[in-house]
């Protein structure tokens, strides 16, 4: 026990707390996105971030987290903007446009990150950790930054939750009663881009979508109330993030991202099977009970 406690430094604890805050905020933001039926909106943004990370490094020569994440956020917004342009100016349909932005922007990111060492940027090592996430390199200062971003995102969601819920469930009514539907949609997508970027150091560009998709989908099984779902989704994100960070700390060189996603998937699987009313087991029991009572009434016989 004491040996284990000795290994857990102040830095590790702060990093775990920062990543936990990001997990919570991503779960909260993600539930708005999933309710609006735009679960994969963040994936194009996520794959575009790598270009931003590389460009921020190229432009400033700095590798600190703030610089790289600002670049990633700009690139995420450019990626989402490309989607809007494709929709507006070409007849490529939404699904192909999304896949196109994912593939091409990720390819450009890989090209830049792989090329940097050969182009004379010898100190660019470490950028590829944004692919699958790696919390070991984070400092306490980085963690405070992530926590601050997460706090801002949660505050914005708290401020627009009522309006966003209305838009998610009945956008036609919201538009008819004068709510700025597209403004609220842009705000939600902007928040998703922000959380994708905040999740980048811990989960990585390839898998960070899971951070905004899996917790809300899992939380949905437990409740029919939006407020409960948002909080529960945040808590699931938090637990998954902490579990992933802890698991990756057990072996050096283990990427954090896949472990966070697997932790979230375990919570999802438990929710899918065990949740009352909406869970698979509860539904099965309900169905067979209904059948049994029908048989006992003698209405339906074998």
């Amino acid at each position: 026990m004491t040996a284990a406690a000795g290994l857990v430094s102040y830095n590790t604890v702060v990093v775990a707390l920062g990543v936990a805050a990001v997990g919570f905020a991503a779960g909260v933001v993600g539930s708005l996105c999933v309710l609006r039926k735009r679960a994969l909106a963040g994936d194009a943004a996520a794959h575009a971030t790598l270009v931003g990370v590389a460009c921020a490094f190229l432009a400033t020569g700095r590798r600190d987290l703030v610089t790289l994440l600002v670049g990633a956020f700009v690139a995420a917004c450019v990626g989402l903007g490309m989607l809007v342009l494709l929709r507006r100016f070409t007849r490529t349909r939404d699904d192909a446009a999304t896949a196109l932005v994912i593939g091409v922007s990720f390819g450009l990111g890989i090209t830049l990150v792989s090329g940097l060492p050969a182009w004379g940027y010898a100190n660019s090592a470490g950028l590829e950790q944004f692919l699958l996430g790696h919390t070991a390199a984070l400092t306490a200062r980085d963690a405070w930054l992530l926590a601050a971003v997460a706090t801002v995102a949660v505050a914005v969601v708290a401020a627009i939750l009522k309006e966003a819920t209305l838009v998610a469930f009945d956008s036609a009514f919201a538009a008819a009663t004068g709510w700025p539907v597209s403004g609220i949609d842009y705000a939600v997508v902007g928040l998703v881009a922000l959380m994708v970027v905040a999740g980048l150091p811990a989960v990585g560009a390839v898998l960070v979508t899971a951070l905004v998709v899996i917790p809300p989908v899992a939380a949905r099984f437990w409740t029919d109330r939006v407020g409960t779902m948002v909080v529960l989704s945040g808590l699931i994100g938090l637990v998954a993030a902490v579990a992933g960070v802890a698991a990756s700390a057990t072996r050096p060189g283990l990427a954090t991202g896949p472990l966070v996603v697997i932790a979230a998937a375990v919570v999802f699987a438990v929710s899918f099977f065990c949740a009352p009313h909406r869970g698979w087991i509860a539904r099965r029991a309900e169905a067979s009970q209904g059948m049994a009572s029908q048989w006992s009434d003698g209405e339906v016989g074998p």
Partner: protein, 429 residues
């Protein structure tokens, strides 16, 4: 990047190596273009994205079980993983009421995460690591050869060519079925065709094309090879068989160009191929024949120019009609430029500081003014608009009425050949 340096140190004949690498990349890109076109026209691009991620655990399990990359066991594992993805996504929708994109988002991220962890467990020397998953190792593939009729041929090229041949044969054999299912799935089902089987076959083909590409470009960039050439081809043509051929050609060209560019720039070949595919799509969006950006801009500029010409001619005509010659004078530099152009084409003649119409210009101007006044007359009779509201719509529509329409409008008028302002309507020139 280290791989290029190591290639140089290996001291192999570089020309042959590059040719083999490009040939390999081209055949797998062609396979992806073929499968991708069917995915794109059936609006299943994101299924392609999900499958290209989700095959990873299948590949990893097959390799851990002793299969070699590009071998039959690995193909089997990948197809199984792809089927698992689709089955799980549909199961989540049926049993949990999950929207399809949310379900896919859960399933493919989870499977990919499991795959990455499994790859981390693979013993060293099994040719499978995290970098390979993300970038592929196109540059190394030509070194792993097998002997065919005495020639050393890269194993991945043989696998890629086999896959391409198989996919082409399957698509050609089921062509009519593919077209029917792609454009009218409900009709195909009603006609008793095996739509579910075609869809399952397409998913399996996606998995096979992904595995064939996996060694070369990694799991994530396959989605670019699946979707980008197909989306570009869809902009360039509207016939499915041309779309398939254009997509395959675009994929193969991008593979070669991307490989060479990556070699020159010392960077990832897979990433560069995706970038070239993106550029191809951008070029297609720019030059597409009917609704490409260039076609739209040209159509707009031509319309604007025609309107400017016709307005200038009509202005000079009206000035001559009213006898106020100074009215024919251009007021803005743009109008002056249009007038000078019309002088060059023989429609206007210079008259001191002003202009007058040549016979050719008069003919054209009379038709414009005729359109304008006929439209005013028609609106005055039928639209119940006040007199001062007739001019603006006529000013707009005068450029779009043909001779036939003018005839019909004239037939609709009473005998008086004048517009509601009492001005004479010139006869058809």
């Amino acid at each position: 990047m280290t791989s290029w340096l190591q290639l140089g140190e290996a001291g192999v004949g570089l020309g042959g190596i590059h040719a083999w690498a490009m040939a390999t990349a081209a055949v797998i890109a062609a396979s992806c273009g073929l499968v991708g076109t069917l995915l794109v026209v059936r609006r299943m691009s994101l299924v392609g994205d999900a499958i290209s991620h989700a095959v990873l655990p299948g590949i990893a399990v097959a390799v851990l079980a002793g299969g070699r990359p590009g071998g039959p066991l690995v193909f089997l594992g990948a197809v199984a993983a792809a089927m698992l993805t689709v089955w799980l996504t549909q199961g989540l929708r049926a049993a949990g009421g999950l929207a399809e994109d949310a379900g896919a988002g859960v399933v493919f991220t989870t499977l990919f995460a499991i795959g990455v962890v499994l790859v981390g467990l693979a013993p060293p020397g099994t040719h499978l690591d995290a970098a390979c998953v993300l970038y592929g190792e196109l540059a190394f593939l030509p070194f792993d050869t097998i002997s065919i009729a005495g020639y050393a041929v890269p194993r991945s090229f043989v696998a890629g060519t086999t896959v391409l041949a198989g996919l082409v044969a399957a698509v050609v054999a089921t062509w009519k079925l593919q077209v029917f299912t792609a454009f009218d799935p409900a009709g195909a089902r009603a006609a008793g065709l095996p739509v579910v089987g075609v869809t399952a076959g397409l998913l399996a083909a996606t998995a096979v094309a992904t595995v064939a590409s996996f060694d070369a470009v990694g799991a994530v960039l396959v989605v670019a090879m699946l979707v980008a050439p197909a989306a570009a081809a869809e902009l360039l043509t509207r016939r499915l068989h041309r779309m398939v051929m254009v997509a395959m050609a675009l994929g193969a060209v991008a593979a070669c160009v991307g490989y060479l560019a990556a070699w020159r720039l010392h960077t990832s070949a897979a990433g560069m191929i995706a970038v070239v595919l993106g550029l191809e799509y951008a070029a297609a969006a720019a030059i597409a024949p009917d609704d490409g950006l260039a076609a739209r801009v040209i159509a707009r500029v031509r319309l604007a120019w025609r309107v400017a010409r016709e307005d200038r001619l009509a202005t000079v005509w009206r000035a001559e009609e009213s006898g106020n010659r100074s009215g024919a004078r251009p007021h803005t530099p743009h109008e002056a430029m249009v007038a000078r152009w019309l002088e060059l084409t023989g429609h206007l003649l210079r008259d001191g500081s002003s202009w007058r119409l040549s016979p050719a210009g008069r003919r054209e101007a009379e038709n414009v003014v005729r359109s304008h006044r006929l439209w005013e007359a028609w609106l005055g009779r039928h639209a119940d608009l006040p007199l001062d509201h007739l001019h603006p719509p006529a000013e707009w529509v005068e450029h779009h009425l043909g001779a036939e329409m003018r005839e019909r409008l004239e037939a609709d008028m009473d005998e008086r050949a004048a517009d509601p302002h009492g001005r004479e309507i010139p006869p058809e020139a």
